[in-house]
Symmetry: C2
Subunit: 327 residues, 2 copies
């Protein structure tokens, strides 16, 4: 039975299930200093979200000769906060729970798209200000428009399915797309610029990296057509529920000011918490505080995945979501 | 060629097309007094929205022995503002454009549903207030939940299609459903109460009448289960993009206050403009100013339908959307 540290919280039912299976589960935050001093060294497994930074110094202080840590489970998708190379060299397996939050992000993305084109957030604000802005709030429909997906992984494909059902035409850019996915009902672009040139609606679904940093910027947004595939002047719209920094916020604000963008909706920011962000003052900007995976359902599914990862690992099986293969 | 009065506005392209076909189109508001004095008596056709009230006195002053009015076209769906019996007895045909705004209302309804369960409007408000309320904004997913549709006409069926794609289970109450529609992939309820007992999400898609007034009320909302079909505590949610007055606003406010409702989203109100509405103060209420049909696409389609109604009528054909059959 494993000794498990949970440093950034976990679904209650999952913790309960792990305990019922005989595991020792210790829930509580570890400060960066403590981590560097080996506060995880008496644990076999650590379950983290994004707050705990598993950098080289932390991994080496808790594994190998210095401790018993053998498995890092990221409850969620993004592993920006884990030095996977370092984990590999110290014999520590890294897993995430990639499928658990897919539907949560898909639904938030569609929600932001619909809210943006129909001015739901702006309308509510006007109503609370005592203004019945019926004419000003005229919007456009998603049906008949081209949706450009930057990245075509699991979440983007889920968004594409719903957006197709809404009558959108799907375009995608993803240089890492595996060949078996290329035959779907969408247009695959080899250049990111060409997606912007064709699509009035863009949604971001890629990882953050040097390559994707500021991929959505003023230059590219300026290429967007403003007129839908159906000939309707629907304006241009951007949604990012993936990772902060892929959208150049300064460029987006400029595009909102000039009217090149009719709306922008962000769930993620270059700097979080984003309470002082200058985009927040713009009427046609709307935002949520990084809640893409934040549904009760996703948390429950993450809990289920953590349980199965722990079970497999205890049986000596490499979990399916392992991000490194140890020698 | 017909003399056409347009009293509440029309899509520019539609007016242009009608003129190009040789019709005389006069655009401008008519006061109630003028209408009663026969200001439409020199027109063959009047195109109205909801603002112009075609009551008995107005119809009799402009048709039959008193004038040449023979066709009333409602640019939109609701004909609460037209006395159809009076029109029939004066030999005036009444048409609306029922299909033109369907998709616009479908998309707004799904937008309100997603925005409600993911706290998009609340999140944006908090962000602008300088609060990063990530934990408070945790939401739930539509997938795996039961959606109850009150009324199962064209719009409700469109909502059902998208909601099914999102993984919802569809329930409907519609005592006027034609038998050929009963075999779809949904559960048909014979009692409205039973929809509320089963569904955590309710969307209104019926006409306003004595029968439907306050059909959504505190008693019925109190029957809603709070726990989704998938076992998730998602709370209860109400959306109305149909007609004001079907939802008892006082009851809904009470249900929001007690937490029986987790959200309510209204596009239509008992009294409009609804700027002083007491619901507007509640954090979990969100609203839009009666913009269900207010998309560029719907206005363009309404224009197209008006043109074809005028053409058919001029050729002596009863338009397909005629709401009365003259003897």
């Amino acid at each position: 039975m494993a000794r498990i540290a949970v440093t950034d919280g976990i679904d209650e039912n999952a913790a309960e299930s792990l305990r019922e299976s005989g595991h020792q589960v210790t829930i509580g935050h570890h400060e960066a200093d403590s981590l560097r001093s080996g506060s995880l060294s008496d644990f076999d497994i650590v379950v983290i979200r994004s707050a705990t930074k598993m950098v080289e110094e932390v991994i080496s202080a808790n594994s190998g000769d210095s401790g018993s840590l053998k498995l890092i489970i990221r409850a969620g998708v993004g592993v920006d906060n884990i030095d996977i190379d370092s984990a590999t060299s110290h014999g520590v397996t890294v897993c995430n729970t990639p499928g658990a939050s897919t539907n949560a992000v898909v639904e938030l993305t569609i929600g932001h798209l619909l809210s943006s084109v129909r001015n739901i957030v702006r309308s509510d604000r006007k109503m609370r200000d005592g203004v019945w802005a019926k004419k000003e709030m005229r919007g456009s429909e998603l049906r008949g428009k081209k949706l450009g997906l930057i990245g075509y992984g699991r979440i983007a494909r889920g968004v594409a399915e719903i957006a197709s059902g809404l009558g959108m035409e799907i375009h995608a850019y993803d240089p890492y797309m595996s060949s078996e996915l290329m035959d779907g009902d969408f247009t695959l672009h080899e250049e990111v610029d060409s997606v912007f040139k064709e699509c009035t609606h863009i949604s971001v679904h890629c990882f953050f990296s040097d390559e994707t940093e500021h991929m959505v910027n003023l230059r590219r947004v300026s290429m967007m057509p403003s007129i839908g595939a159906d000939g309707i002047e629907c304006g241009n719209h951007i949604v990012n529920c993936a990772r902060g920094g892929i959208v150049d916020e300064e460029g987006i604000l400029e595009a909102l000011k000039t009217g090149k963008l009719s709306s922008a909706a962000l769930d993620v920011f270059e700097s979080e918490p984003a309470t002082g962000n200058s985009l927040l003052g713009h009427d046609r900007f709307s935002s949520t505080p990084h809640i893409g995976a934040s549904t009760r359902e996703a948390q429950a599914r993450i809990g289920d995945e953590i349980i199965s990862i722990v079970e497999e690992f205890e049986q000596g099986i490499i979990p399916g979501s392992a991000l490194n293969r140890l020698l």
